[in-house]
Amino acid sequence: MFKKILLAADGSDHSVRSAKKAIYLAEQSPETEITVVYAVDGQTSKVDILHHYDKKVVDELRKRRLEPIENLLIEKNLKYKMVILHGEPGPAIVDYANKRDFDIVVVGSRGLNALQEMVLGSVSHKIAKMAKAPVMIIK
């Protein structure tokens, strides 16, 4: 069924919601592994470094962002892996997913309006279009 699950997350509320759905899929089988990917784009990267120029602090900060999700995974005693990618979130996640063999990609939708989406581009839309695996979009 869904043995290899990729969860795209950034620690935001909507990504915690997606995590809950991914966990539901994962709970059905003990062999399931969830790979949590967090893509850090140039902007976030700059802000992080400007605020905390120590590399260790930056890594720590990024890990801490994903803590709510990691806690859920630990609570449910699931096999998981945390991966931090660098680059524009959409393409970086698609690239990571397509090089591996995932049964499903779970991603949250920020719910941008039409204009925002035109300008910013929707990460979930890019992933849904470009990933080879089935993609589940969570509102």
Partner: protein, 139 residues
């Protein structure tokens, strides 16, 4: 969690791949039900058909895939119901899902290239944007 599943299925090749995924998802939750939605677009309904199964739009191979899908559902003990609606597919799917408190929409993607999807707009993208429940897009 996914008790009421909406499967957008029209018997086309790209939508056939969604059947297996819908069965997987339906198996996760007890007493789940798959509502199979076949939206006849306005063009199809213009042919003023009396018997849906003999509609011009539903060709032999589609009918065959419907049979295969029903067999697969029966073999896996999936509770399902087929519904026909008329109108714009994306509109009807979103409306049906939102009005019937569907827990997840499963649909295929035609796999248009970027240019085609820019001009035509992809049904899956519109559904993804406007549905309030999780949407799974299967390639």
């Amino acid at each position: 969690m996914f008790k009421k599943i909406l499967l957008a299925f029209d018997g086309s090749e790209h939508s056939f791949r969604t059947v297996a995924k819908a069965i997987d998802i339906a198996k996760l939750t007890q007493d789940s039900k798959v509502e199979v939605l076949y939206v006849l677009s306005d063009e199809t309904s213009k042919s003023e058909v009396i018997n849906l199964w003999e509609a011009e739009g539903i060709k032999e191979d589609r009918l065959e895939r419907f049979k295969l899908a029903e067999e697969a559902a029966a073999q896996n003990g999936i509770d399902y119901e087929i519904k026909f609606l008329r109108g714009e597919p994306e509109e009807k799917i979103v409306q049906y899902a939102n009005e019937n408190s569907i827990d997840m929409i499963i649909m295929g993607s035609r796999g248009l290239n970027p240019f085609q999807s820019m001009i035509l707009g992809s049904v899956s993208h519109k559904v993804m944007k406007r549905a309030t429940c999780p949407v799974m897009v299967v390639k």
